[in-house]
Structure formats: C-alpha cells, structure tokens
Symmetry: D4
C-alpha cells in the first residue's frame, strides 16, 4: 500500500482541502487498486506492452464479437486464441478489421508492433511439423509483445544434426521455448546445450500411450537437464507469456 | 504335428508290430509333446544354453532353497533373481555352493560359461549410477548364456559426449540394451544412432512425476526413434532374454 | 569417428595436395556425418533397404503431397502411414503414381521390391479380425524392406488350435510379431511356444476397461513368457521396424 | 415376505389368541426380517452353512478378540481373514481355541466340517507360487462351508502342459477359481477350456507395470474367453464366496 | 481325452476294419478335439445350446455378412452384438433373414428357441433406463440359450422400494445379473438381499467422474456384499454368458 | 467493507478529533481486516465458536509444541489433528495440559464446551469399525464447537437394518456426515432416506481396487442420491467443518 | 415406523372392526411406506417444494416425452436437465407447454414459483464465461424450488477484485455455490472469505492436463480452506440440490 | 563450430607449424568440444558460478563419498541433495569438511560465496510449514550460486493477507519461486500479482486425493494466471536452477 499517498490524502482531509466525502471515495477503492486492480488486470494484460487476450473455446462467436468490440474501445491490440476457421469467419463477418492467423489458430485486431531489437530474443524450437500450430501460437503472442524471436521447426531426434548445426545461432538468443509431442525428449537435449531459460511445451501429438500429451509432459517434468520448466499441454500461449515474463526483467533493468 | 511319425506308428499297429495298447500310450502323450512340452519348458529355460531361473520375491528363503536344490539335480546352472542380501545369506547357509552377485541382486549356482565370441555381442548402456542394478541383472543373464557384452554406464543426457565418444565401439556390437529412469530419453538418442535391435528398459529411478518408472516407460513407448522395443519397468532380466532371443537367430543361421 | 580417413585428409593438407580451404569444407561437416547425419537419417530410413516414411496424422494433404514430392526426388520408394481414404484420394489426385493400400491404411510411391528369400522371415500373427489393419501396416513395411513374412490372422484364445496347427510352419520363421487387443494374452502364449524374438503390439481394439489398448499393453509388459518386447499401442509400423532391426543383424553377419 | 405367517398371526390377534401388544412386538420387526434381517445377516454368513467372518486389517488385536468372543457365543465356526502372524499370536494368547492357518493368513475358531461330497466341487488353480496365499484363503473358506475342492498350483503359461495334462480331472469339477498376477493370462486359457463358471482373481504379485494387480485385473476383465467373472485384487475370500453362491443353487435344487 | 474312443479306433485299425489312412485322418484332429477343439469352440458356442456370436465393432458390414453367411451354413442360430442401426440395415439388405433387435443393439439369424422352464432362471435388474441396452443384450443372449429370465428395470437407489416390493419374486430365480452406471451401488444392495450368484455389470452411463464406467466398476469390485463377481463395462453379453455357465451346472447335474 | 465505520473515522479526522497519524494507523490495517484478516483468520477459526487447529503431519513435535504454546496465549481451545501416539507423548511432555484423544488421533488444549442444544444436531454415521478414527475426528471437532451430534457406527450394507431401525432418530437431526470406505455405497442409501444436508467422507479403508479411497470417493461423487457433497479421503475434520458451516446458518438466523 | 398407526390398526383387528384380510393388505405395504416410499420419492423430489427431474442423456426424445407426460399428470412442475437444442425441439413438438431454458440446457413444464424471500439465499459464483451453463443449471433448479439467489459470474483469479468488491453483498447470502474449471482455485479463495456452507463444482472447462475437470476437482478436494464440499464435475444440478438440502434446514426450523 | 579456430589450425598444418599427428589429436576432440562437451558439462555445472551437484537417492554413502572426493579435486564447491541424516553422518565421517544443511536435506563441501547484490533477486514463497524443506533446497542452491533471495514462508490461502502485506517488497525482486502442496492454489494468486517469471513447485504435502503432489501439479499446470511455469513435484532444486537460468540472462546482458 502506498503509505505516503494515503498520508497525504489524510492530511488534506485534516486541513479541509479534501472533504471527508471525497476522501471516502478515494479511499474506498484503494484496497483494490493496491492489492490488485492494476496487477490483476496485468494478469491478463501484464503491462501495456501485452495485448488483451480472449480464449475462444466455450464461447459463441457472438460472445467473442461482443467481448472483442468492448475491449477494443480501450485497447490497441487484441488477440483471440484457439479460434477455428468457422469461428474466424463468423467473427470477421461482424468485425471486418479482425485478421485470422490460420497457422496460429488465432485472431488479431489492431496493429502488431515492430519487434523491439533491444529486448532479449527467444528461440522457438519444435520437434515435428504437427507441433507447428502450438509453435505459431507462441510466435504470435511474442509478435504482439514486440519480442524478437527465431523459429527452428522440425528438429526432432531424427533431425538433431540440424539442431546442432544451428547451435551458435541458438546461443545468440537468451530464452528458448521447446515444443514436442510423442516422447518429448527434445527439451532434455536442448536444455543440456543451452544456458538460459528453457520453457518446455508438451503437445498432444502422438497416439496410443502418448495419452494426448501426458507422455511428453512427464518426460519434460522428469528431464535430466536441470532447470527446465514446463507448461500445460499444447499451451504455446502460456510458454510465450512465460518468456515475456523473463523479458520483463530485461525491460525493468534497462 | 509330425504327420510322418504318426503315420508310421499307425502302420505298425495295422501290421501288428505294435499292439493297440502300446500305441495308445504313445499317442496319448503326443498332443502335449507336440504342442509344447519341450517348448513350454523352454519358456523358462529356452534351450540348453540358458539357465533355469527362479524369481525370488514372494517366495520364502526355504522355498527358494528347495526349488534350487530340486532344479540343480537336472541343471548345470541356476539363476535366482531379485534376491535381497538377507535372502542371499539364508540361501547360502543351506546351499553353500550358491554365489551372491550383489550388484545384480541375484544368486547363481553352478559354473558360468565362458563368453562365446562367435555370438553377436550386446551393448548394455545405462543412464545413471542408480540404474546399475538393473543393468547388472541383464549382464548376469547374458553371462550365464555365454553371450558377450560391453558395459557403458552413466551416460545420461549430461554425459552424451561420452556416448558419442564410444560410438564406433558401440557399433561393433549388434544388439543394444538401454536402461534409463527419470525422463527415459536416452533410448531415443541411442535408437537414432544405432541400426541393430535396441531394447529399452525403463527404471523406477526418479521421484514425483516419474511415478516409479511410468514416465520413462511412456517416453520409450513413444520414442521418435522407430523400432525401439520396450520391456517392463526395472526388467533387466527380460531385456537380456529378449537379446538372447535375437542371438538365437544367429545360432540358428550359423 | 573415421580416424584413418581424417588422418589421410590432414596428410593431404600437410603435403599441399588439398588446400586448407577445401579441407575446411570437408572437415566442417564431419562431426555431423560422423555422429549422426547418416545414422540419424537412417533413424527414418535406417539403411538403403528401407523406404522413407511419412506419418500422415496432423499433416494436411497438401503438406503430405509436398513432402512426398520432395523426398521422391532422392528416394526410390516412399511409404506414408495412417492415411485415411480421404487423404489418399487427395494425395493421389496430385501424385497419380501413389498407390493406396487400404487395409494397411498407407500410401506407397515407387516400386516395392521382391522379397529377399535369403533374409530371416517374420511371422505376423494377430488375434482378431479387427486387429488386421495394424497387422497389414506391419506387413507393408516388411514388404517395402524386402523382408519375407507369413500372415496368421484371427487366432485369438478362441482359435488357439489353429495356432497350434501351424506351429511347425511358425517355427520355420525366425522373428514373430504378435498383435492383440482386449486381454492381450496371445503374445504370452506365442512367447512360450517360440524361441526367437517376439515383438508384441497391443491394439486399441476392445471397449470399457481395455482403455483403448492400455489393458493389452499392460498384459504384454507383464508377460509370464520371458523376453517379450513391446511397442506402442497400434504401432504395427514400429513392430515391423523392430523386426527389420533384427534382420539387419543377419544382413551384417552374412 | 412370509405372507402365510403374517396371515396366521393376524388371525390369532383377531381370535384373541395373541394380544395386540404382543402382535405389535412381532410385527414391529417384520419389515427387517422381511426385507433383510436374515438375508443381510446372510450377507456375512449367507446361510447356516457358512461361518461368520471377521476382516482383520484396521482392527486391533483386542478388537478382534472381543468380536470373536462375542460372535462365538452364537456361532459354531468363525473365520478371521488377513491376520498377520503378530495378530494371530496376540489373539491366540487370549483365545487359545483359535487356530492360525498360516498359508491362508487366517484364524479359525470352532470345528471345520467334513467336505460334503454331494455338493458341486471347485477347482482352485493358481499361476505362481507367490499366489498361493490368495488361493489358500479361498480354499479355507470353501473348507469352512463343506464345499469340496481340488488344488492345482503353479500352472502359469510356462507350465500350461501341466494344466492340459489334468484337464479331464478339472472337468470333473463344476466351478473353477483361477488366480493369477503379472499378465493375468491364465483365466483366459482356462475359460476357453472349461464350460462351467470361472471366477478370476487378480493378485498383486508382479512389479513395475503390474501396478499391484491392475494389469491382471484388466486382462481378466477384457478376457477373450466369454463369461469369465472377476473379483477384487487378492480377494481369494470373495472368489470362494462367489463359488459358494453357485453351490447354493445346487443345494436349492436338490 | 476320450480314451475309450481312441482305443476303439486303434483296435479297428489293428483289425483292419479301418485303414491306416482313414485312421490318420481321424487321429490328426484328435489333439485339438482333445485339448480344445470342442471346448474352444464352446468358448464361443459353449455348447450346442448356445449360438455362434459375432462381435460387430471393427468389422465392416461386408465382413459381418460374410462371416454370418459362412457360419449359418453350419449353425441354426447366430447372434451379432453391438450392431448400429446402419450396420443392421446394410446386413439385412444382404441377408434378409436377419432380424435387428434394436433395444439389444444386436442381430439374430435363425429361430430363437422357447425358454426351457426346467433350467434355473435369471433376474436381470438394471438401475436406470439408460442401462437398458446393456440389459437387453444380456436378455437376448439368454433367450438364444433358452434360459428363462425376469426383467426388473429402473430400480436405482431412488426406486429401491420397487426392488424390495419384488423381493419374493426375485428370490424365486437363482441367478441375478445387476446392471448399473453412475455410483454402481445397486449390486451391493442386491448382493446383500439374495443368496445365489450375483453378476454385476458396470455401465458407461454417467458423466464427469464416472469416467465412462470406472466409478461403478470400482464400486462393484469393492462391494461390501461378499461374493459379487464383475464383468467388463457395458458387457451385458459377458454377464449373460457367465449366467449360462452357472446354468450349465444345473444341466450337468440333472 | 464497513463504510459507515470508515466514514465516521474520516469525519473525526476532519474535525481534529483524531490526528492524521492515528487515522493512518487505523486505516492501514483496514484492507486486511476488511477483505480478509478476520475472515481469513476465520478460515481456520471460522468464528469465536471454533478452535484454532494445527495439522500435525510434516511438523516436528517441537514445532507443534511451539505453535500450540503461541496460539494458546490468545485462544481458549486448541485442536491438533492427525497426531500419532508418539507425537502425542512428546507434545504432552512439554505441554502437560494437552489431552490425547486416541480414537480421534488428536490433541486438545483447553476446555471443551458443553454441547449447545439449541443448535441443529449432526448424525455421524460410519460403515465399518475401521472407519471409526475418521468418524471420531469429525466428532471431536463438533465437540469443540459445541455442536450436538449422534454416533451411528458400523452400519454398512451388511447391517442396513440397523440403519433403518434408527431412521426416526436420524431424522431428528438436521445434518448428516456419512463415512465409508470400500464400495462407498452407504451415503447413496442415506442420501435417499434423509432430507437435510448429507456430507460424504470416503476413507482409505479397503484393499486392491479401493486404491486408498479412490473407489468410495468416485462412488460418492457419482451418487444416484442427488445433492450429496463430498470431502477429501479420510477428511473427517473437513466434513465436520462443513457441518459447522451449515450450523452457522442456524446461528445467524436465530 | 409409525408405531401408533400400527397399534391402532391391530386394535381394530382385535376388535373385529377390521378383518384380518383387510389388515393384511394394509400391513403388507407398510414396510415400504415406513422405510422409504415417501423419502425415496423425495430422493428425486425431496419434498413438495422441489420439481420432478428427468436426466435426458441416454434417453430418446420419445422416452423423455413419455416420462414427462406421465409425471405431469401428478406434478405441477417438471425439470429435464442436459437437454440439447435438438432434444428440446423434438420434445416441444410433442409437448408444446414445455419451455427450453437454453443457457441452462434444460426443459421445464409447469409454472416456476416466485422466489420465497423468507428462505436463506444462495450465491452462485463462477470463474469463467464457459462455466455459465453449469451455473445456470444450478440457478434453474433453485428457481424451481423458490430459493432466492444472486449470480456473480466471470470472477476468476484475473478478476478477483470484482469478487472482493462485492463481498458485503455476498455475505448477505448464507449459502454459496462456486463453479470453476481449469485450476479450480476460486473456491479456495471464496471459502476463506465466507463463513457459511460453500459447495464447489468443478467443470470440464480447460484443456490438456485439466483432464475434463479432474484438475479442478482435485484442487477443490484438497482445498486449504476447511469445510468446502464438492460435487461431481459439471454437476450444477447436484450443487443446487445440496443447497436446497441446507435450505430445508431453515424451513424445518422456522 | 568455431570456424576461425579450425581454419587457423589447418593453415598451421599446411605451413608445417603443426604436424598432421598433433593436428589429428586436436581435431579429434573438436566435435565434442564443438557440439557439446563444454555445454553438456554446463548441464550440471551450467557455468563457473554454479556448483557440481550430486543427487543422493539410489547411491550408497560410499559412492557419494567417492564421487564428492573425485569432484572436489577440480571444483571449489559441491552440493549433494536429498541426503538423509544417516547418509550425512556417514559421508561426514569420511569427508569431515562436508557440512549438513538439515533443513535443505543437503550436503555442501567448499565455501559458499557471498550473495552478489548486482544480480536479480528471487522470492521464495511457500504455502505451509511442511513445504519448507523444498523451499530450503531451492534457497541453498541459490546461495551456492551467489544469487540473492528473500524467504516468505507459510502464506497459504489462510494467510493471504500476509502475502498482500509484503507485496511491495516482493515486487522489488524479479523472479519468484512459489512452493505449495494440497490444492496448489498459491501460485495462481501470486502469478496474478507479480509481473516477472514465476516458477511453481508442487509438493507431495497433503493426503488422500493430493496423490503425493499430483493435485497441486495439475492446479499449477492449469493456472488461470498466464505464464506460470512448473517443475517436478518437490523439485526445489530444479526451480532454483530455472531461476539461475533467468539470472544468467542478467549476467550476460550486463
């Protein structure tokens, strides 16, 4: 709680500069401003650099349109994730400014900023072509936050030489998102090769005992490479937000 | 069914050379000899080259002693797996010829043969020092079958350069057993580097979400390296028998 | 690492026969060729005898067409597994040379070789008619690798006499793939009757507590018949590759 | 509801032979006698032919003594299952008439009846020696109910010829209890060979993916042999009661 | 093994009444008749009283037609379970004699026999109306085996008074099949009220934590009412076969 | 937030009756008093009528002593749950006023109040004697809160007539806690008979597929009796707090 | 059991006022009236204040129509839950008086009563917009029972300030239903802030490791806020019935 | 690959300054230095700032002593985690310089550096006192890496005001590790309040449905607060290494 600001206000009331009624109004909202409004708001929008995000599943196209229209009044950039082609068509019919990012299965409304080259950059690595939608969801979130990034796709165990070939380049970036389904072994290898934060994303790609992503999730949680962290299955968005949280550290310290 | 042998017998009965009663006795046992007695027996002892094996858990030391004493009357070499130090001491008190192989947690009774250099050799690779008992159980079974093998221990993700360093040597052997707990990622890497049969053994080493070996089991079943096969958790014995099954092919074809 | 080849090159540089720049180019790629390119490549294509393989699920027909067209430039034979009839029709519209193997749910492009009778042969046994697609996937992979094989279908517990009837024939082959859903008990029986490598494939056939193949998977991992190995649920392809890995041993030793 | 008995009572009230007050007392308990008292009582004791049973785990030795002492006042035969050697010693110190059946891990108090040869007999088959305590628990319950039975132990897949050898004998009995851990495949085989009721008992014997009996439980629930029924893991007692329920049918129909 | 029949044949060969060649043909099939043919055949068809059964899922309509046509050449009555309305229409277009039993989701071909009143009768009790298809599958199998039965549907916990109301009637039958989804508590109550064999069938009816039938399955396996037995989820067919196995006991003993 | 109290304070500051500094101190703590301190405190101690509670597992005896000593300075009654006999002895050596409630496995410090007969009363029903410790934990918490209650123990399915016998008495109480392990069927029956709130507690009593309480938990979550609510396995304490929450309603409305 | 009524009847029989035959008829049904008819009936309809409820899944539209038509003859208000739009249309075509409550996915037939302001009121809080159908199912049940309630939707962690803002209002109600998917953390927070009964409903909203509601279910069962109770996944209906059970207490005590 | 260094070497060979044999030795090790030696080594030791770490479980005290002695020859600081008091005593008997950090259950050998105030600092927050060992394991690893940190323990839902009270302080640190068992809800709240990286650690604290940490793990993976990342159950060490990976970014950018 901002003690000095409160002290000031109370003095103003004591001096008559502020009436008790007006003071009441100010103080009434303090707890929530203090403990959370801005922050909790930043839970979704973290800070001005990040767009408002709508998670589409379980919402009707009409609801998505209404939410986006309302939010767009106060925000420059909106992102709506996990949008099917059908939802995209229905939303765009109502909100023509919306763009459908098919590979990322997401909608955007508003201008995507230029990448800010002064920020730490992110590697987005994925094991197979079927993991690309998860990777692109992560990429799009980074784009909307102006965080620079490099893609390295389809470098599973069968193509590890391609990973090794590009190691010097990978090491120029500071944060790495690794996305894999099936055996989920790629993050263990990457985590052993890179020194910075590595965020692992299991995907639901596979069949049988991959159990819709449980197998790679467990692999990643038990990785022999220490210090890996993991997000929910197929959660490219969450991995990218985790990366933005790391980047925020760089923003702060500059 | 050995049609000619049966035809012969029936002709002998028709000619009176064999009485119906004697023929009856011969034929009565045919089904079981045919369908499996010798083979099913070989389920445990596969063939003369393999020892009789006793699985100790759930048996009292007295039972183990009795089984080993009975079997030893007809076999040259016995193996008793998963024997604790206590069981070993109790069994050896009764059967002084028994040797306790502490690392392999197993007992042997009888002479272990020389390795037969003409047979295909086996790599036994394990990821961590805690996996060694499983690896040694596999090694001991191979020893009792005269199958030559090479050990390569403690080459997890953190030490993959040691694996790479010894690749030429590994490629000289034809069959590979890979043992790993935690993320179970090692067999995927090995399976991508070697061309012959790779048998993966998940171990119960780990904690939390390794779930006593489920995590590495799933990793191995979902391996990106095609053609890996998997055995039960901690089943070094089974992996070695699987290797012996492959070796039997070489025996047959020579 | 091919030490002699490297030594030779270095001597050539020392003697001026090769310029440092040319030598640099040669050496630059060595690590990957050494540690992995050819081998890792053989992860998919194991060796010249095996086709390039595309796993269709999660890829669009357009992507499959593009991948097959690219690969076909450098390969004589392609296999695309888990292709639905729809995908097959769409791919064949673009690549008329592609053949749809309906039972195996797979596409091939290029000439399938004659079976090489000098190689060890494989039994493909399945328990029920619903397991046939998994069995045919295995059969097709063996075909593309010129490995001879015998089919024995629909010999579940209810038809075990048919299995027993053909035991002598089964014993003439050296490797056995056993495919079963529901209780998954067939491999235990087969593993007790045959001496060579037995590769068990659980299938997702069943209902209720078969849990899409978990029940037969667990049965197979816990088999009383020692030395069985297991692959992922419905993974006929993987079982066949495992068989090819065993066959490669015979190729090597000839 | 015993209509005639009630009608009789009401007539006695109408005639004055029974006072309304006494009638009230009799009728008051009727609902419970009707809907269940005797039967629910028979839930534990099924009928006079079956002993009262105490399940020991979770009860102190003092509690077990008190329960047995109380029950023994009104019953000729008591059975206390899952008693450890320690519990047995403590109970016997207080109730010297109690006998500890070590193999069955159970206590009995009172005389065990002769087997009634006129009843249908039961096969008790188990796969491995470690399954014997479960089998003996079943055997002891049958003994206390005077149901004749035959033991056939240690006939897992590796010893199936012994099972086949004794088929004619097995077919002379009408009900079969099959007990198996690990792959739990034995009941499927037995169920295919025998025509009468087959009750399968999974045991917690095994390791790794046997998951303390889940693997054989699933195998049995998914058995290809139709009409198998299954009880809880290690529940030899329950299997025997199920057999006694079948036997009761024979008692009724004689 | 039918020793006397074999002895007779061998004597006929010895006397010349049967030629060795003809004898060979007869004996050739003996092992399977001995060890299993009749029985294993009876695995599906148990005995002459039971129809041949086809499990439809995973088979095309064409395959079902072919199997039914083939079997019908040698059998008087066929049952095909788990047939959708679509499959039924397609099969009936080819085999007009086939009847679709919609409630039981099954096809029959051939005449269903009259119920044999001399056999022990079966109660089929189910908890909710959504469980009726499972109950009707059981009923149809009993019908095809001429086993008499009584239906008591929709008597879940909310209607237990209806169950109690009909207790005397239920007790006139000797075997009881109880079918329930959701909490699966009904068999525990029924098992406490009835003395004969009680076969519990969990169904996949429910939502959320019923986990497609796991919740009622576990309830039934852990029932406080001793001696309940359980079959696979939704397996009305299997429960009825289990009842027929009990009935076979009565057939034998008459 | 207590608006009037805050308004009053601000007016006092405006009038000079309270200095800004003193006002600051008062307001500084308001958010937490408002949004949480008292309430969150009441999370453990709900209101003055409820004791402070210490959960013992994972704490050393020394830690428990220190926490109890500190809390007792400001509270009249403390409860420490899940205390083993060893912990109890060690704590009592340091805090002689502590009483060990052995059946409830709990410690108390301070005077337990008389039951307040004006409050709604609670039934505590449990299925088996092994469930008693969970029931007694619930009972003790109610005692410390002065909530009257009735015990009805050991009325599983096998003793349902005892439950029915006491229905009129049960109906005099308004809230019911039902505790059961194994099949967990008792709450379904009780929930169908009683009209007030029924709180079900699964226990870890059972073996095999009871999975340490998962089976009864699922039964209770899927209960056919609508409006049952469930707490964690073995959580007698939580069930009693839930009952106290209902009772608080009666307190409020009086 | 209504002792006085029975005593009266018996006296009438003794006096000849009632014949034994007529008395028999009256008494014959007593057990069921006594032990449960009214109550068990109230299991679904609890008391006159609650509607008859039909659970639609697994029933055909024709069956639903028939059940509703039958029930409506004797009831003023019917509720049919989990009705899809298709089912709704089909039912309404037959029963035009039926109203489809789309948000609640339910049908009603009959007049919904005015809320009874004298009853304790209920908070219905949900975390996300995708949880609304579950919340509305709860709301509709409360409506049909005349229980007053307040909605507070979309107050997940990201909007906790809105929850805090409305705390005073929430505290005016006495019972709280909290509905959440994904991490299921909201009930823990609410349970710490409110003193009355809190009923938590996990929903199947989420993806990946939410496992269709298992994740929030476990969170709620393990809540740090003592005295939370939990119902099945997506079971808004059950939560509302649990609230009505609490309300019944207030009805009783007035 | 360090191209310039290699080019230089080759030129030296071409000029005769380096002999081909010496060049061979240098190049022979290049691949591993290039692709991984230093990095993979940094997998355990990441960089000079981090100690060598030994994971004790599954290793004998003798093995731990030998490993520590060997490593200490080349390292200034060793950490051995998950050491019991017994192991600690045995190791210290052999290596007296070793210090046992009891709360962190870890051993250290060598001097722990001063915290480097120029680095980003870490919050270590835990929900309950039983989570402290996991928190202290994290704290010790940070200490050995000279990373400054703040402890905030025992701030579960019941003490959230203490968390809110210290928000300004928490916001001064840039990275946060949140440790919680039971419902695992704390990280969701913290993640909503703080902007930097939040690493969540589920613990095995709890009982019943906490399933040794699965419940809080799932809560954290499904957190409504976007961008949380998660490590294995009880993995305080891994969380701290993840924090060090973030810190490394700050080191790099300074």
């Amino acid at each position: 709680m901002d003690r000095s600001k409160l002290e000031e206000l109370l003095k103003a009331i004591a001096s008559g500069a502020v009436s008790p009624q007006d003071g009441l109004e100010s103080i009434k909202n303090l707890p929530y401003q203090d403990i959370g409004f801005a922050n909790l708001d930043s839970h979704r929008g973290l800070r001005q650099g990040m767009p408002e995000v709508v998670f589409c599943p379980g919402k009707s196209s009409a609801q998505i349109v209404e939410i986006m229209r309302t939010l767009y009044a106060n925000h420059d950039l909106l992102l709506a994730t996990r949008a099917t082609a059908e939802v995209a068509a229905e939303v765009r019919a109502e909100l023509p400014g919306v763009v459908y990012r098919e590979q990322a299965r997401a909608l955007t409304l508003g201008d995507i900023p230029e990448a800010d080259k002064s920020l730490p950059a992110v590697n987005i690595i994925c094991a197979g072509t079927a993991d690309v939608p998860v990777a692109e969801e992560a990429a799009l979130l980074l784009e909307t936050c102006a965080v620079p990034f490099t893609r390295l796709y389809d470098v599973g165990v069968a193509g590890i030489h391609r990973l090794l070939d590009r190691l010097p380049e990978l090491r120029r970036n500071h944060i790495t998102i690794v996305i894999a389904g099936m055996d989920g072994a790629l993050p263990s290898v990457v985590g052993g090769l890179l020194e910075g934060p590595v965020i692992a994303v299991p995907t639901s790609i596979g069949y049988g005992t991959s159990f819709q992503g449980i197998a790679p999730l467990l692999t990643m949680l038990n990785s022999c490479a220490a210090g890996l962290t993991v997000v929910n299955i197929d959660n490219g968005f969450g991995a990218a937000v985790a990366a933005v949280r790391v980047v925020s550290l760089a923003r702060t310290r500059v």
